[in-house]
Symmetry: C2
Subunit: 469 residues, 2 copies
Amino acid sequence: MMTALSELQALLGEGGLLQAPTHDLAAYEKDWRGRYRGRALAVARPASTEQVAQVLRCCARHGIAVVPQGGNTGLVGGGVPDGSGRQILLSLQRMQAVRALDAHNLTLTVEAGCTLQAVQDAAAAQGLLFPLSLASQGSCTLGGNLASNAGGTQVLRYGNARELCLGLEVVTAQGEIWQGLSGLRKDNTGYDLRDLFIGSEGTLGVITAATLKLFARPRAQMTALAACPDLDSALGLLSLARHQAAAALTGFELMNAFSLALLGRHFPPLHQPLAPCAWTVLLELSDSESEAHAQSQFEAILSEALSQGLVSDAAVAQSLAQSQAMWQLRESIPLAQSKEGLNIKHDIALPLSRIPAFVLETDAALAQAFPGVRMVCFGHLGDGNLHYNVQAAEGVPPQEFLTQHEAAINRLVYDAVQRYEGSISAEHGIGQLKREDLAARKSPVALNLMRAIKAALDPQGLLNPGRLL
Amino acid sequence: MMTALSELQALLGEGGLLQAPTHDLAAYEKDWRGRYRGRALAVARPASTEQVAQVLRCCARHGIAVVPQGGNTGLVGGGVPDGSGRQILLSLQRMQAVRALDAHNLTLTVEAGCTLQAVQDAAAAQGLLFPLSLASQGSCTLGGNLASNAGGTQVLRYGNARELCLGLEVVTAQGEIWQGLSGLRKDNTGYDLRDLFIGSEGTLGVITAATLKLFARPRAQMTALAACPDLDSALGLLSLARHQAAAALTGFELMNAFSLALLGRHFPPLHQPLAPCAWTVLLELSDSESEAHAQSQFEAILSEALSQGLVSDAAVAQSLAQSQAMWQLRESIPLAQSKEGLNIKHDIALPLSRIPAFVLETDAALAQAFPGVRMVCFGHLGDGNLHYNVQAAEGVPPQEFLTQHEAAINRLVYDAVQRYEGSISAEHGIGQLKREDLAARKSPVALNLMRAIKAALDPQGLLNPGRLL
């Protein structure tokens, strides 16, 4: 290991390799939620793809495991080292170049360490749009977004990170560089390596750069809030909005009454335009014509929804500031939830048609098994993706609640998700957090296929071991 | 082999196994273009996923290779047996069930042997849209569409077959059934097996069913033709149309002057609304509001394009019949080309921004090396996908031309495609036809990754051997 470290030091030069105690590695060794805290042999900070390849070749030679890390904003412990002190933490944060923007081809090639915000800004500087949008966009990196196939608030229209990527540059476990930075919309020349690396959470290769899809910027973006009496009505509204606005419908977010009540408690200055109701939907239209056109679309959708009884009340934003305030309501829910105290998060996806029955049944089962628990249910209804979070009963100390009930609550929720043909990880990935759940719940055939692929591409098992599989 | 055949006969029953000379296997053994003609040990026609699994287990036990086949409409010889008489042709045509349609979830689950037309019809019967659209849709099957990641005329808006599929059911080389028929828009639980099987041309597993994305049907579809003086103008028009119409722009097809001249020669009754020009573009708008709205969008786009000099003339369809007639022009080009005689086809993709220079340079190089050759250049410009086909000089016997020059012309074209960072197979796949080109032109790192995956999933090498890799 000492040989390996001195080789890495020589490869990466000053500032390229950080070791304790000379350097404080804490920021790399623990995740931001404080659930995972490891210890790295060292932190390697390569500045180029060639350096990443050299690091991986060196680690392969010496049999040292490598944990890739981007902005360290993940939610499942996929990017921090284990406690052994024998893993190299490979930070991509120095690789931040915007390599190329092709406005006619609507593509942007960036290095893995670019923050999502920087990618959005590079597109915007040319009057174009990179639509991936997440709460952590100021610090999460594109490499991490792709390694975890990030979702966010624009998936309904533009898809997950996977759908927004045309090509990748990847360093393999053997330290070879796969140059797959294609800007092509169509390319049927062999297996889809790109999509295999996307979402593999650093266990099959290290993404060093990507070519991304850009879009024309819409002329107007407008939002509205709608009060729905139940989830069937919310789905009816979705269906109606889709038929009326098609791809112009870029957001369809759900918030239950308790989510908004928490906002009222912890962020009283946030204005809530509608009276409390069972379910509030935030709709967003992105219009290529004009604000007036978006407004008339909203009027058509919402008046039809009112007359069908799908909606009991609605408010259309009259300005950009009002639109942003509506989004702020939706985006402040996780913060309000933290202020209320620790809670048990479930990032689940379900077929849309099964969501009403799932929520009714699972809410009831939780209420019966854990009297007084409070459900914070919100998320990307248009994608079938709910953040179905469980907060302790009023007055119950959250930490105690988690210690006693987290495992049983997870089991109850995930059992229901499986019965309803859903996913136990819609957009956050598996990492360490859900690795055992995946092993227990995924079909053995699927797991065997995944293990065969892992063994084929990383036979030494050095890439992010103990994550995902 | 005789043991295997009697086992298969017992498994599949009457009509489930066809053997020569009792049955005429010709329709299964040759491709429709007549380029490939093989000889099968037998044709297995399973009627269920379980039967497919039994066939594959039997073949794995006996070490017999299997060639999956759908509608046998492929263009690269991927679905016909070799000449050895030792391969089982596995036809999926008896598996035609529409298993489920979920209108709220916008998903449709069908078996692999459904024709594309049947899938479109099942969606339309519920007022919904399955947008994949190809010339062969009456006979090609969904399984084949996915195995080859088919493209077609709606990719600009809806993506390739890959983007239209949410989940798969696949039988592995070992005869296990992977039940991955998810109807979820988001599911980050492990490696993307779905996209690995899609486009793998039957070499990694046999697709038996799929869950597909559906869309709201647009209220109106309208087309227009525009005359562009050069390819830069055509790209300028594309950019303008995208900014104005965003996702409502569902088609942007290109035709060069000679393509339309061939139509005039071989299909004189087809009305050509515009006077001959260097490049003609067919635009399609799919409008969620009304025909009038689509019409006003076209007027805005085309008047702006005329004033910018991107377009010298244009015609907007005034009726559904006129729209269909415009599409018929585009779709009749391959037929007109066959009537003109054998030709050398190239299904290529390029970054959009590089298309004008590629075409200028390659047209000139071909004209110099092969005086008098006539270029039939048309295709899906919006996707960067050209059918860049070379027809013998006027009066030169086509077969002679092919025999003498096909290899050299392919080399010239594919060398240029590589220089311009394009793909030698945009939407048709590799099969037998381009297998050697792939091996010669794909990066060794990519080929090694593909071979490692193939060896991991099909260690006996029994699935569609000699195709793709």
